[in-house]
Amino acid sequence: MTESVTSAPPADTRAGKPFLEVKDLQVHFPTDDGMVRAVNGLNFTLERGKTLGIVGESGSGKSVSSLAIMGLHKGSKAKVTGEIWLDGAELVGMSVPEMRALRGQQVAMIFQDPLSAMHPFFRVGDQLTEAFLVHNDAPKAVAKKRAIELLDRVGIPSPDKRFFDYPHQFSGGMRQRAMIAMALMCDPSLLIADEPTTALDVTVQAQILDLMKDLQKEFNSAIILITHDLGVVAKMTENVVVMYGGRVVESGNVRDIFYRPEMPYTWGLLGSIPRVNRSGDGRLKSIRGTPPSLINLPKGCPFQPRCDYQEHVEGANCSTELPELLQIGQEQHRVRCHIKSEERRQLFTEQIKPSL
């Protein structure tokens, strides 16, 4: 096995606590069909000015985790356990009013579909100023000035006129910009972007991603970027968490994930995507089967029913024993797999890499 066996949550070695630390987060939803185990023990840390990508298929628990950080499961039937530390404050145990004071102020979110995330009856300007007025004891004129400033900053032409428009008068790209402006109204230190560009065209996507990067530099905010698009991850993030069946199966810095991945699911993901910069002959390496049901998660490794590399496992049973998320090497690269690390590396260089 690897030399340092650390199953503990990733600890930051620098002085003091990391800006955001999620420890053993679990989110379960009781339903008539049984307990939906959406997130089962999520750990990660994030510093200001950095971007963390959370990658996974639908139903892997990536959106549910982000909603937990926003405290949006409070008041629902969801059972949230674990710890979320944001700048010294613990969010899971926080009361609803406390969380409300934080939300929009320190933590803000950009949703996937700006058309359904904005209220169709209210003017864009009013929706922008709302959070600002809640959190700041300031006159409306100040809020309006700030909103127009931000609309201008995100690249909406004639923002002083557009301030009075309704969401339907905006195009898809403009709505997404307005959402970003809305999220930035109170200078949040943590921005969660849940599939921020999935509904957009490539040229607009490029604009929005560039904008998010610029704004991050300007405001030094931390960003959690949830997406299934590996291209967006490669462009935007420093660290990546790959989720599958409500668990982290691999995490590390972006280059580890793209150039030295060790988990068969990550290999599958990388092989599944057609590349725009390469001629597309040959078949895509798809992953057979479908993601597991979160009600009946496989007992052992969540990826076991779809994994093609089980014969390389020695001394463990993939279908009954859940592999631990173990650190490999010196960096923060962690992998959840029963195959020995040297063998995984060999498999990757010999079998996977040539076909990527």
């Binding site: 490539v202 725009v276 597309g280």
Partner: protein
């Protein structure tokens, strides 16, 4: 409008098959009216405005562009779910552009469609067996083995469990539903399948499964695909030839690798450079063309070249004169630009 037909110049070298589909100056304007009783037309949304495409048997033509560029409308016109306001569509030599429903019916056997959203394109009240068997019923086709057996064979072929014949669509996942859609399109052994964003609603791993399935079926049954998508990577993977559309017009068309390696139209450049690559080092090293603004409204498209409002090369002539699709570079490579790019990107 270009008078050169891309069919004569391109198709034959690419795929040896017969000319299956050809559109000339295809046009679809949606009228915009005012008033309730005495409606008068106040304008038109020029969704498709003069599109020439050609497709040979066994070939895949990718149509790519941003939302609102008319790619879906083109697909609907080709399948005659919609009627063109001008221009012609010929399928195997016969003009189908204005055929009535009844006269269109025999052609429907040859032209089928796979839709984008596997959740809304299947009737929730029908079983999978009924859905996949519907083409046999409608076309009154008797199969040798009986409809049920034929449907089950199809289900097996597309990777569904034939025992699920009596299940309803809601019991299937997104990828499986898309397989149902593929089986339905395949039922009558068509020559041409129009795929309208068939994989964009699916997860990456499932998307790869469906793309592989479509490729296998093409090989097995000699299908031709008109593959409409906004994802340039998928288009590159699956297409033999690619047409790039912008605001109702084809701005560039070429063989796949020619287009991706030696794009000449500034819009194609911009599109290609906007796609993020799944490669962090390449991402850092890349220089990017940043397009500003959105696609103009097709209600009132810009004069001359439609891309000029966002183009960094635009000059006076671009506003005055519309550039025709002209042969440039390799055979079959056509580009509609007054100032085509010389250098290659990506």
């Amino acid at each position: 409008m270009s008078t050169t037909t891309s069919a004569e110049q391109t198709g034959k070298e690419v795929a040896g098959g017969e000319l299956l589909l050809e559109t000339r100056g295809l046009q679809r304007y949606f009228p915009v009216t005012q008033g309730i009783i005495f409606q008068k037309q106040t304008g038109a949304v020029k969704a498709v405005d003069g599109v020439d495409l050609s497709l040979h048997a066994g070939e895949t033509l990718g149509v790519v562009g941003e939302s609102g560029c008319g790619k879906t409308t083109t697909g609907r016109l080709v399948t005659r779910l919609d009627e063109p306001t001008a221009g012609s569509i010929s399928f195997l030599g016969s003009d189908i552009s204005h055929l009535s429903r009844a006269k269109m019916r025999p052609f429907r056997r040859e032209i089928q469609m796979i839709f984008q959203d596997p959740f809304s394109s299947l009737n929730p009240r029908q079983t999978v067996g009924t859905i996949i068997g519907a083409p046999y019923d409608i076309q009154k086709v008797k199969t040798e083995t009986g409809t049920k057996k034929a449907v089950q064979t199809l289900m097996e072929r597309v990777g569904l469990n034939p025992e699920h014949y009596n299940r309803y669509p809601h019991e299937f996942s997104g990828g499986q539903r898309q397989r149902i859609g593929v089986a339905r399109a395949l039922a009558l052994r068509p020559k041409l399948i129009v795929c309208d964003e068939p994989v964009s609603a699916l997860d990456v791993s499932i998307q790869a499964q469906i793309v592989n399935l479509l490729e296998d079926l093409q090989e097995e049954f000699g299908l031709a695909y008109l593959f409409i998508a906004h994802d340039l990577s998928v288009i590159r993977h699956i297409s033999d030839r690619v047409a790039v559309m912008y605001l109702g017009k084809v701005v560039e068309t070429a063989d796949r690798d020619e287009l991706y390696n030696h794009a000449r139209h500034p819009y194609t450049h911009a599109l290609l450079s906007a796609v993020p690559e799944a490669d962090p080092d390449a991402e850092d090293a890349r220089e990017r063309i940043r397009l500003t603004g959105d696609v103009p409204s097709p209600l009132n498209p810009p004069s001359g070249c439609r891309f000029r409002t966002r183009c960094w090369k635009a000059q006076e002539i671009c506003a005055a004169e519309e550039p025709p699709l002209m042969q440039i570079g390799a055979p079959g490579h056509q580009s509609a630009c007054h100032f085509p790019e010389e250098r290659d990107v990506v």
